[in-house]
């Protein structure tokens, strides 16, 4: 299986505080790869480095063999790497349709600078948006404002927006965060469905979901990788148990 996303000795320092130390990650194509760890382990910082939201201090990020370490954040979706956010980050006063359309529009470089004709809402744009609406079961909410959606629907839309760029690698930061028990199965189905066309790296706290969905798991603690393997292997690793439950147990 080929490696679609890789990091080599990725380190991120904020002044004296080291958030990520020498992280080596290898994500195989067509898999769902979980990144887990106790709070403060540096998972979101790691994601921010992968997505280009923050610059790395040292180390490399390779996408399909290409070094994208210094590639600007806004160029990564076009390169095939998209992310979603742990705290819902959408355009809340705009409709679901518009949120998705904006993501689609960004894919044609320079299209966003056109000021002499109205934005396209029909044709190929509408098709692309409707496809994602179908996958995320939000067709009925096409014209609803994001602020009026339920939390669960917003989390699903979070993923949907990232999907618009037809990514080859999808970075999902706690996609089920704050979701109710009843909404989670929908997310699991969506993730399994997406696996067919892209590789997914996800940060998650929900142990059940990780076990059910992930093919491989990397465990971070204190900014370092402490364990790696299948969900089963990792859950039986002593180091991981201590990391989550503490030394005394």
């Amino acid at each position: 299986m080929s490696t679609v996303l890789q990091t080599k000795l990725l380190t991120k320092r904020y002044g004296d505080f080291v958030a990520n130390t020498d992280i080596n990650l290898s994500v195989a194509k067509g898999t769902i790869h979980g990144v887990i760890g106790p709070n403060g382990a540096g998972k979101t910082t790691f994601f921010n480095c992968l997505a280009g939201t923050v610059p790395t201090t040292s180390g490399q990020v390779l996408l399909e063999g290409r070094d994208i370490t210094t590639l600007a954040q806004h160029k990564r979706p076009l390169a095939g790497l998209s992310r979603s956010f742990q705290v819902t980050s959408l355009f809340s006063d705009l409709s679901v349709f518009e949120n998705l359309r904006l993501a689609h529009q960004a894919l044609s470089p320079g299209k966003g600078f056109v000021f002499w004709h109205a934005a396209h809402e029909t044709g190929s744009t509408a098709e692309a948006v409707d496809m994602v609406l179908a996958r995320t079961s939000l067709i009925g909410e096409r014209d609803t404002l994001v602020s009026e959606l339920s939390h669960g629907q917003q989390r699903v839309l979070e993923v949907g927006v990232a999907l618009m760029s037809k990514p080859r690698v999808l970075l999902l930061d706690e996609p089920t965060s704050g979701m109710g028990i009843d909404d989670i199965p929908q997310m699991i189905t969506l993730l399994s469905d997406l696996k067919k066309e892209c590789t997914i790296v996800l940060i998650e706290h929900n142990v059940g979901l990780v076990t059910e969905v992930c093919d491989a798991v990397t465990v971070l603690q204190g900014g370092k990788v402490i364990s790696e393997g299948t969900p089963h292997e990792v859950s039986n690793d002593e180091k991981v148990k201590i990391a989550y439950l503490g030394e005394d147990l």
Binding site: S89, S92, L102, A118, A119, M164
Partner: protein, 325 residues
């Protein structure tokens, strides 16, 4: 959701505004001032209402526009169209310069940077007295003519003819701006205003878009400044000072952020209210201050939003009455 008002309707509306305005006012001069400040407010609205960027430096573009246009008229004697187009280009350049530096910082630091640039502009204008007239301002500005080769030459000496020119320019810019805010660029600016982080993450070079909107804002604001200088035949130093920046912001908020119609409303209400209050009481600035406080507290969407709400209520009430069995 993007509304579907055809551009032609906006054109008719702008035309109607320009046609009706002087009928409601005692002179063409005040009507001209309302329209040209309306343009300045549109420039400010692009930054603040549509992109969420609060700039205290609009007077820098306004005043620069006055000076460039005035100097061109005195020394070069080009026609009105080249003069205004060049002024707009220069306004865009200055705005890009400011934008490139100011957008490196966010929030309060951004605002302070725009303010700093505005102050810089003021002192340059003040000290460059041989060019700008310094404290005295630039005097004896003539209004350039409109020459259509081999056809005709129009001078703009009368108040009416200058108003007609301003009205025509206003209509064109108004329609272009309505087109802009619904264009892909407009949708990106709206996205940036709502959630800059997400806009960047989905693939928009936010810094570059901010510079672009600065260019548009600077160019339209400089155009307004040029028209003001031609109207007065004089470019006062005050065009580039902080008070002018504040007044433009005030008009923008008063009219309603994110509304091109609101821009004209804001300029009209502010200028008419100032004149009206000034006739009543020399301490009228207190009344203006109270008006601003009132608007900020009770009409946060500006006058345009409040009028829209009012009409919505009236229509709803009419519907209710109609429904009685």
């Amino acid at each position: 959701m993007l509304t579907k008002t055809p551009l032609f309707v906006h054109f008719l509306a702008a035309f109607a505004i320009a046609a009706v305005l002087p009928m409601l006012l005692p002179s063409y001069v005040l009507a001209t001032e309302i329209l040209l400040f309306g343009l300045a407010v549109i420039g400010c609205n692009l930054l603040l209402g549509y992109t969420g960027l609060l700039s205290f430096g609009q007077a820098l573009f306004f005043g620069s526009g006055s000076y460039f246009a005035g100097l061109m008229s005195i020394h070069l004697n080009l026609g009105i169209v080249p003069t205004l187009l060049i002024t707009m280009a220069l306004g865009a350049l200055i705005a890009i310069l400011v934008g490139v530096f100011a957008i490196r910082r966010a929030g309060i630091y951004f605002i302070m940077l725009t303010l700093a640039f505005a102050q810089l502009g003021y002192y340059i204008a003040f000290l460059a007295e041989p060019i700008t007239g310094g404290e005295d301002g630039l005097l004896d500005i003539q209004r350039p003519a409109l020459s259509i080769p081999f056809v005709a030459k129009f001078e703009f000496d009368s108040d009416f003819s200058f108003y007609a020119l301003t009205g025509a320019i206003f209509i064109v810019v108004f329609v272009l701006m309505q087109r802009l805010v619904k264009s892909p660029l407009g949708t990106v600016l709206t996205a940036i205003k709502q959630n800059e982080a997400r806009a960047e993450a989905i693939g928009y070079n936010v810094k570059l878009y901010k510079i672009v909107v600065f260019a548009f804002s600077g160019s339209v604001t400089a155009l307004a400044g040029a028209l003001y200088a031609f109207m007065l035949k004089f470019a006062p130093l005050s065009n580039i000072d902080l008070e002018t920046s504040s007044q433009i912001l005030f008009m923008t908020i008063l009219g309603g952020l994110g509304s091109i119609y609101g821009s004209v409303l804001g300029s009209a209400v502010f200028l008419v209210a100032s004149d009206f209050f000034a006739e009543l009481w020399p301490r009228w600035m207190i009344l203006l201050g109270l008006l601003l406080i009132f608007v900020m507290l009770y009409m946060p969407g500006g006058v345009s939003k409040s009028l829209e709400d009012l009409f919505a209520k009236i229509s709803a009430a009419k519907d209710q009455r109609g429904k009685k069995p």
